[in-house]
């Protein structure tokens, strides 16, 4: 029992990034790649994994170096750390998933400028231990990636009428027949292929999250409210 409750307290920071402080839905950070690349599931997943990877490692590195770096020059040092990590993931993607690398294009090097990464380095990793920073990076990265993939699936479904198209770019040739086609003569809904569709999808997701939060709050209030006790004098 004790070990489970310990585990839960350890996992709590994970939930923060996924729900309460979700970088995409609550902090609204990193919107440029979020809106630019979420036009299909495979693109979204590729960028989500890359960003999470950079975020975890950069948080760990920044946290390691935090005691050696003077406060006045911390930003250039952090940026250099993040940039070298981004370059290495760019090279890794060129080596293993070259076609996906080509589709994502400029958005891979642009991970450097993703404000989630520098934001977490400043706000969390520069003040906390390596392990805590790694968990924070993982939770923020996953929160970003999950939203990215959700928008990707929605936009691919509405825009192109397919889901999981081109997944072989990421998972190898066995994923070729993962593609689900809704209808053969589905007319392309170009609005959702283009960036404005991403804005609307993100808005709908934020609205959905707010509704769930509101419902939860109301139900919690009702649970806390004490029942009336009627004392009947006889």
């Amino acid at each position: 029992m004790n070990s489970i409750s310990k585990l839960i307290t350890k996992l709590k920071p994970l939930i923060t990034g996924l729900w309460h402080k979700n970088p995409a839905l609550v902090q609204l950070l990193g919107l440029c790649p979020l809106l630019g690349i979420s036009n299909s599931c495979v693109n979204a997943l590729g960028l989500g994994i890359a960003t999470t990877f950079v975020l975890v490692l950069s948080n760990m590195l920044v946290s390691t170096f935090r005691t050696f770096v003077d406060d006045t020059i911390r930003i250039p040092v952090f940026v250099m750390l993040i940039a070298s990590l981004t370059t290495s993931i760019e090279l890794l993607m060129q080596a293993y998933v070259y076609e996906l690398y080509q589709t994502l294009g400029i958005f891979i090097p642009l991970i450097v400028t993703n404000c989630i990464i520098l934001g977490r380095a400043e706000a969390f990793a520069a003040k906390n231990s390596v392990l805590k920073s790694a968990i924070d990076g993982l939770s923020m990265g996953l929160g970003f990636a999950v939203v990215l993939v959700l928008i990707g699936i929605f936009r691919e479904l509405i825009g192109q009428g397919t889901v999981f198209n081109n997944m072989e770019l990421l998972f190898g040739s066995s994923a070729i027949n993962w593609k689900i086609v809704i209808s053969i003569d589905y007319p392309k809904f170009l609005f959702f292929v283009l960036p404005p569709g991403a804005f609307i999808t993100l808005g709908l997701l934020i609205a959905l999250k707010n509704i769930i939060d509101q419902r939860k709050k109301i139900s919690m209030q009702q649970a806390v409210e004490p029942e009336r006790i009627r004392i009947i004098m006889e």
């Binding site: 007319p187 392309k188 809904f189 170009l190 609005f191 959702f192 283009l194 609307i200």
Partner: protein, 352 residues
Amino acid sequence: MWKNIFIQDKLHSSTKLSVQQIMFFVLLAAVPGIITQFICFGWGAFLQLVWCMLLAVAFEAFILKLRNYKYTDYLPDNSALVTGMLLGVAIPPLAPWWFGLVGVGFAIVFGKHIYGGIGKNIFNPAMLGYALLLVSFPKQAATWLPASSTLLPQPSLTEAWGIFWGYAAVSADSFAHATPLDIIKNNNALTLNELWKSSQILDGIGGKGWVLVNISYAIGGLFLLYKKIIKWQAPLGMLLAIVIMAFFGWQGNNTSSAASPMFYLFDGATMLGAFFIITDPTSGATSNLGRLIFGIGVGILVYVIRVFGGYPDAVAFATLLMNITAPLLDYYTSPRAYGHKKADKGLPRTKS
């Protein structure tokens, strides 16, 4: 009369018309245009109109239910019907059923109620829906018909019905024809005189049928002006701007020339836009001078997009672009109460 541009009306309105009556008169004023459109483009145009108006009321009822309003509060105000009507006449006659569904749904749900419902939308809902359709489905948005006076084949009622629901043996492509604006836009080899002769759907002034449709909408618009439901500033500004811009672009009879001012005045959705769309009280400017500038802006944009832009007709995009500027126009043009500062220093900040 010219003083009217600068002198604002009394703030207390002297008309006693309710929203319901205003919207009813707008619908009534559109009737001549709708009838002419039916005569020129056949059953397809009528089907789209009825379908869009039905859908608009259905979506309005649905969203009112979601927002916990009573139907009786907002549904009888006819504003949804007007949105549906504007989309219905804008949608090409041979578009499939889902075309109107997507457009009206987007217009009512995203264009109107996301912003808070009637009176609170910053964009003209109908034009938002139409712009979405134009951007999303370029193929279906181009299924216009040649007017009946060209004697080119037009679908019968059953064919139009079949095309609408998608089960017809004939496809929409077998009837669809480029609109006059398309033809002018894609022309780069013929001089204007050669072009008038080469095309079956053009006559001397504009497209066959289209001139009549535009005149009918203008008549409806004059009725609205007479009833004092719309003001003359915005329509006049728009039409004047189109004429002046077209004079600059009209180089007589060479191949690179844009068409004559008459052509741009009586083709596409010019008159519908001038009298029914940019006079929308919610999304347009509200001061008299503001209305004039708003209209001029729409007119300039309409001409620029028609001649240089990627889309043949431009009223929707021009209106949406100018809708963004409406608050700024109001800010600089609305008259101040005596003793208040002029707008160049801004309204006094209210302490919150």
